[in-house]
Amino acid sequence: MPLIALTAGDWFGQVENWVFLVIALVMLVGSFRVVTSPNVVHAVLALVAALAASAALFLLLGAEFVAWTVVLVYIGAVVVLFLFGIMITRAPLGHETALSHPFRVRAGAALVSGALFLLIGGALLDAFSGQRIEEPATATRTADIGQSMFERFVIPFEVVSVVLLAALIGGIVLARRDPESTVAGEGSR
């Protein structure tokens, strides 16, 4: 990939970079709220914002099929599953500081994640500095993705379907109440 010097003026001159900045802002604020919000439901809704921003990022890159899959699977199914999990486990719905560890642990966690970000960021700046993505002329065609998935990647695809079946059965087996224990220990639910 050619190393072309890119000035800040050039960067801000491209309209897709402004779109990127808006998306990045939504994503960072959303994910920050996910990990800090004192309200469980607000955290899940912030996750919706962060995932919607990642779908918008995929659209910006021309990866349409992945973008709509994120919307369908993550925002449509996974978030609803999380809301069900919150309702079932009766996580405290009001403002509750006990959702996070005490300040001492949180400071350590911030230190670890900050160091991780600096490490990854330094490595990225070292490795990919100045490299550009050519503007995708057309979006990746869904037909091409399907072609590739069912020819080159058909075995992983089948393995994933087995994994999903195993997860389905495992989820039912784990979450199901044993019939005898319901009768015997009715008080202990």
């Binding site: 990045a24 990866a63 699977v73 999380f82 069900f84 999990g85 670890v112 990919f128």
Partner: protein
Amino acid sequence: MLINQFLLLGAALFALGVYGVLSRRNAVLVLLSVELMLAAVNINLVVFDIALGDTLAGGQIFALFVIAIAAAEVGIGLAIVLLIYRNRHSANVDELDLMKL
């Protein structure tokens, strides 16, 4: 567009996910933070796929696989959290010390 702007965003998202996993006490919120980390991985896969111009679209297909595995992981994870809640009447990860000496 630079490659690094996307990669740094993914790194920030991953770091926030790590912070959430370490700092959250409620098991459901820990799973939520894991989802953030998986989303960061998806961004990296798609960005490299577009940047390299893969004719097989391998990065995008792996992102789809990650999404499918994440859905399975959430299902199993929430079932386990539900089971723990039913047995211990709490979904806080610091109260699950049954295997501690």
